[in-house]
Symmetry: none
Subunit: 417 residues, 2 copies
């Protein structure tokens, strides 16, 4: 069984609002073993909606649409659906009863504009809305089942769970589709692709795909079939991916670089101090996004101005004068200063040129120095990141966290030997 | 001139990653007077891509696709495009030169798998990629111009700006569609809606819509027609919106709360210090996202652990013991400590309970104390924010920045009188 997901709304088509419903629905139906073929986003326009519904119904077994069921003039999903069916809109007694009950329960008057929400294409089935005034609409169009849900997030989610997913549960009896995601940082995509080439080859029972975002590359392993078999295939492939990619792998699924570092700090009973210049608090903010870090993240100093590097971190002014704020001696002094002032077991410092200004031939925009100080001494490394200010800062923050992760990992392995 | 936007990637179709590119592109081309008809999201599959490209090219003047140009086996946009054109893939000399230059500049080896990125459908034009290895692809298919860009966000954005938008600038001679966005913080949506009710009524030459996200409410004013007329209408409505919403308005268009604060700091020649607990560096990171803040943001201390509040900010341990870290006396002492240690003209402190743990009946999750210290003394305020940890922290960071904005605004008005 396959599906097409439709999102209806001018604000979506014009990019004024981000569509999160299509992704939520896609995950929910994929988990039931339904193959999502594609998504489509169309305007609040009768003709555009009718065309999209017809196109989707001709291609898929299931069509799930959201949006355009409200009471205002720009809501016209019911009209578009009626046009697609060649049906007229008629007041449905269950929809009328729902609206009256909704108003009665709240002591509200039903406005004339709300009445449009009782109109369904002739022959359609209303889907109960446990929260708001807009009932959903289920129809059969050719061979396809079509479900229209309101775009209001809480209503959409409740109705998807209560009225749509149960009808798809026997969509693929004995068959599920599952995805397992292995998350990596630091390997170039081309090298990652080469290490996984045989696993990505066509004709295998799993399908592997990669997705990059700001230095993180996710490897998604997909499989469909009986649940036991799927879990066995995903487990085997995930293990193979982890083994091939080694310490570039920082986690799976919902784990983030920050949660991986948090876990490693907890496991090691280690404490961390941060000295951030160009990242400006981003490294700390990512770690604090993980609950319960206050025993491990002792302090972060955002020493963005040079005076703060001197006063708060004890970086000698002469070092900054001689080498510049973005330099190996300064980043080392920042890390050591942060460790000294807090007594943390580990300290990491970041200083770089995030752009757009401040670059030079020797230190172009994207140049970032990192240092990690611990009881064994201080390591420093320079990286050059591509992209704009936001991208350089994001990459640098992830890189700094990854340094902590790799150091704690090396220590843990060392301790086991 | 109209456009269809395609997003290519199995991870998008299955909802594993949220598609933000389609919305970004939609806003950018709408601003040029291009009517976006619809978006479509399809699988990493030659046939699916070819079908979507053909469908879009038959319907629209411009097709803009993102994703599937990477070096791994699941990247097959170039194959799908070639199939749609009935063309074969050939190495393009400009793409080969780009890849060689990219590698030479970085002292890197080009892997065999990267070489696939030099293959373009016969007759296609490569679009330069200023950041990564994947050139974009421009082709004409029937009457339509088709542009394929990589899915890596920084690369996509740069190439859209540099290679695609300039070609669409004469898209709709004599007619433009423009959206002017007035950005607000702090007013409830219902009150905002009441203040703007007459401007949002049907039948006016402009169309107003609102969009909320983490405390910010944007008011979008749309108009289409000759440029002069559109600008006059938008100017009049934006002025009316600003007047009705007063100091809740922090900017327009691409301005952010942080850029508004940065502008106000520059205009006032003021300096700022930050003391952050639950926001964990988020306030600083937002400000550092604005280039050139090092003369104004003197320092931020992420005093997440209590010891850091004592040692770095001079908060008396007895205050924390008596009132708790999330309390008015502590937040005042944090702000005053940050100001004292840096000599900044303004200091802001934030301490709160972001959740999921740590709440109590008196101080539930979402409770956040703020203080602002300057030469006139220290003000403190407590807010209670809804939502999960991420939402509470984001709201709190914006709230802290907004305090700085309002204080500098009040001073500027005071000085004018």
């Amino acid at each position: 069984m396959n599906a097409v997901i439709l999102s209806i709304g001018t604000e979506l088509v014009r990019g004024l609002r981000l569509d999160t419903h299509a992704a939520d629905i896609a995950r929910a139906v994929t988990a039931l073993g339904v193959d999502v073929i594609r998504h489509e986003t169309v305007d609040d326009d009768d003709g555009a909606i009718a065309a999209a519904v017809c196109r989707a119904a001709a291609e898929a077994d299931v069509v799930i649409a959201t949006g355009g069921l409200g009471p205002t003039a720009d809501d016209c999903t019911r009209h578009g659906l009626a046009e697609a069916m060649g049906a007229r809109l008629v007041a449905h007694p269950d929809a009328v009863a729902h609206l009256d009950a909704w108003a009665a329960a709240r002591g509200k008057r039903i406005s004339e504009s709300n009445r449009v929400q009782t109109l369904l294409p002739d022959g359609a089935e209303p889907l109960p809305n446990p929260i708001g005034t807009a009932v959903g609409i289920a129809v059969r169009l050719g061979e396809a089942q079509v479900f229209c849900l309101p775009g209001v997030p809480g209503e959409m989610r409740a109705m998807l769970q209560e009225s749509v997913l149960p009808r798809l549960e026997n969509a693929a009896p004995g068959r599920v589709t599952r995805v397992r995601t292995v998350r990596t940082f630091g390997l170039p995509e081309s090298e990652l692709g080469e290490r996984l080439a045989d696993l990505m080859a066509a004709g295998r029972p799993t399908r592997l795909g990669t997705a990059c975002h700001t230095g993180v590359i996710d490897v998604h392993v997909h499989a469909s079939g009986p649940a036991d078999e799927v879990d066995r295939l995903l487990g085997a492939d995930a293990a193979a991916v982890r083994e091939r990619l080694g310490d570039a792998v920082f986690g799976e699924g919902e784990e983030t670089m920050a949660s991986a570092v948090a876990d490693a700090l907890r496991a090691a009973g280690a404490t961390l101090a941060l000295a951030e210049s160009c990242t400006g608090g981003l490294v700390a903010a990512k770690l604090v996004a993980v609950p319960g870090m206050s025993d491990h993240l002792l302090e972060a100093v955002v020493a963005y101005a040079n005076a703060s590097k001197v006063d708060a971190l004890g970086v000698p002014e002469s070092l900054i004068a001689a080498h510049g704020a973005v330099s190996e001696p300064v980043v080392r002094a920042m890390a050591e200063g942060a460790r000294r002032r807090t007594g943390a077991s580990l300290a990491v410092a970041v200083t770089g040129i995030a752009g757009p200004g401040g670059g030079s031939p020797e230190k172009p925009v994207g140049t970032v120095w990192f240092a990690l100080a611990d009881a064994n001494g201080t390591d420093a490394v320079c990286e050059r990141f591509p992209g704009d200010r936001a991208l350089v800062r994001e990459r640098a923050a992830l890189y700094a966290l990854n340094m902590v992760r790799l150091r704690l990992r090396a220590r843990a392995i060392g301790e086991c030997q």
